[in-house]
Amino acid sequence: MTDDKHIVKSYGEELQFLNDSLIQMGSLTESLLADSMNAIIILDKDSVARIVESDKKINEYRAKIDSQIMTLLVKRAPMAIDLRFAITSLRISQDFERIGDLAKGNAKKMLPLPQNLPQDLLSSLKRLGNVVDAQLNKSLDAYIKKSKDIAIEVIRLDTSVNEHTFLAIKEVLAYLSKDQKNLEYATNLLFVAKNLERAGDHIRRVAENIYYFIEGDYYKKS
């Protein structure tokens, strides 16, 4: 995936097609994550069915990308940067799929929640969601631009995600401590926070794979 063209034009087209599929899958994952986060904040229970459908689409992309990569491997026996592109695309599509699953899971967690959740609690979850959204958006940017620097920024954002997860969990526990009857709701909200933190880990892995694709070596914390 360097700028120069392949001698075999169709080989170059196949790599480009894979690149495009992954960007489409990533964009879909990004919308799904934002959608599910938004649904939780405004408790839009009607959106769950739509989110489940979007997640199915993401899974279909994963299967399509798997098949593209397998064809590429047997047909072209890619070397060097092309080989790294194929392998990292495979891994990145797995991470996108998992992020989709987590976002879908979060949307489902909203179903039993009451309408009168405390504002502080929702705000802290919203902030966490925003950080994860921004992290995913940046990782897509790194992928599209094949930028090592942006990938490193995404990796570093993981610390911020962890901090916001900690704060969100604190709010949930405060909500729980007010009334034992809140236990079921609080448990669901803990899952939401935890799922967002897990999504952040997957996004970090996406960025690490972008870094590996570019550098041919793993990112090491300096």
């Binding site: 360097t2 120069d4 392949h6 001698i7 060097a80 940067i81 092309d82 070596d217």
Partner: protein, 254 residues
């Protein structure tokens, strides 16, 4: 195991008349390893390996500058015995080229002229061992008197390998040894190369990238007579340093 350098070329320049074919080649070949040389046609890789057994000597217009050391001795020093050098450095070519003789005679020809075997029993032993090492013995042991050319392409190539190793060489040069063979015969030769490296030092010129990955530990990339990059095969094919190497192995060259 410590890696020992078997062959070392230093500032090697080769000219065919006015035309310079190799430019300042500095390359170290490790003992008991397979070194693959890759690069587009006419890049000088065959010229390079032909310098190692001084095959280029027979070309009148060929002029060589620089040094090639084998075990620390310059093979272009004036007192070098070229016949004994070629006994130490065997060669296998692109197209199998058995002599128009029996399978047995193909293998025993070298030991006979080099005076390695004294008796018929010695010769029988050498023929058997060489054919076994070349993984051909079981297929031909009952038909040793049949002509070498009666064998299949892959068998002929293994016969040529048996012929090359019959004089106990230290180095085997292979110039695209599988390019005329089918995939099964190629697989057999590749497996054989892997076994032979425990005894010999092997240099293979190949146009197949995947073959270079499969058989070699070290790879050198030549282009227009220059050695562009050399490194472990793993490094060259996963993450080469030079953009030209990357463009060549990924098919973006030209």
């Amino acid at each position: 195991m410590d890696i020992k350098i078997k062959i070392k070329s230093t500032n090697l320049n080769v000219f065919y008349g006015e035309k310079q074919a190799l430019f300042d080649i500095n390359l170290e070949i490790n003992q008991n390893e397979v070194t693959a040389l890759i690069g587009p046609s006419g890049c000088g890789k065959s010229t390079f390996i032909r310098c190692i057994n001084r095959m280029n000597d027979v070309i009148d217009i060929c002029k060589i500058q620089g040094e090639i050391e084998m075990d620390g001795k310059n093979i272009y020093a004036p007192n070098t015995d070229v016949v004994s050098l070629r006994e130490k450095v065997g060669m296998v070519f692109q197209k199998p080229n058995p002599f128009p003789k029996s399978i047995y005679d193909n293998v025993c020809y070298g030991p006979k002229i080099h005076g390695i075997a004294e008796t018929k029993d010695d010769l029988d032993q050498i023929v058997e061992n060489s054919l076994k090492k070349a993984a051909l013995w079981n297929e031909v042991k009952d038909r040793l008197q049949e002509p070498g050319t009666s064998l299949s392409g892959g068998q002929q190539q293994r016969l040529c390998i048996a012929r090359a190793i019959s004089v106990n060489p230290e180095v085997i040069l292979m110039d695209e040894p599988c390019s005329a063979l089918d995939p099964i015969a190629t697989a057999k030769i590749e497996e054989l190369i892997d076994e032979l490296k425990t005894t010999f030092t092997i240099i293979i010129v190949t146009h197949s990238m995947s073959q270079a990955v499969r058989v070699s530990q070290k790879t050198g990339f030549f282009h227009l007579g220059k050695l562009i990059e050399v490194g472990t095969t793993e490094k060259i094919f996963k993450n080469p340093t030079n953009n030209m190497t990357q463009d060549y192995i990924t098919g973006r060259f030209g």
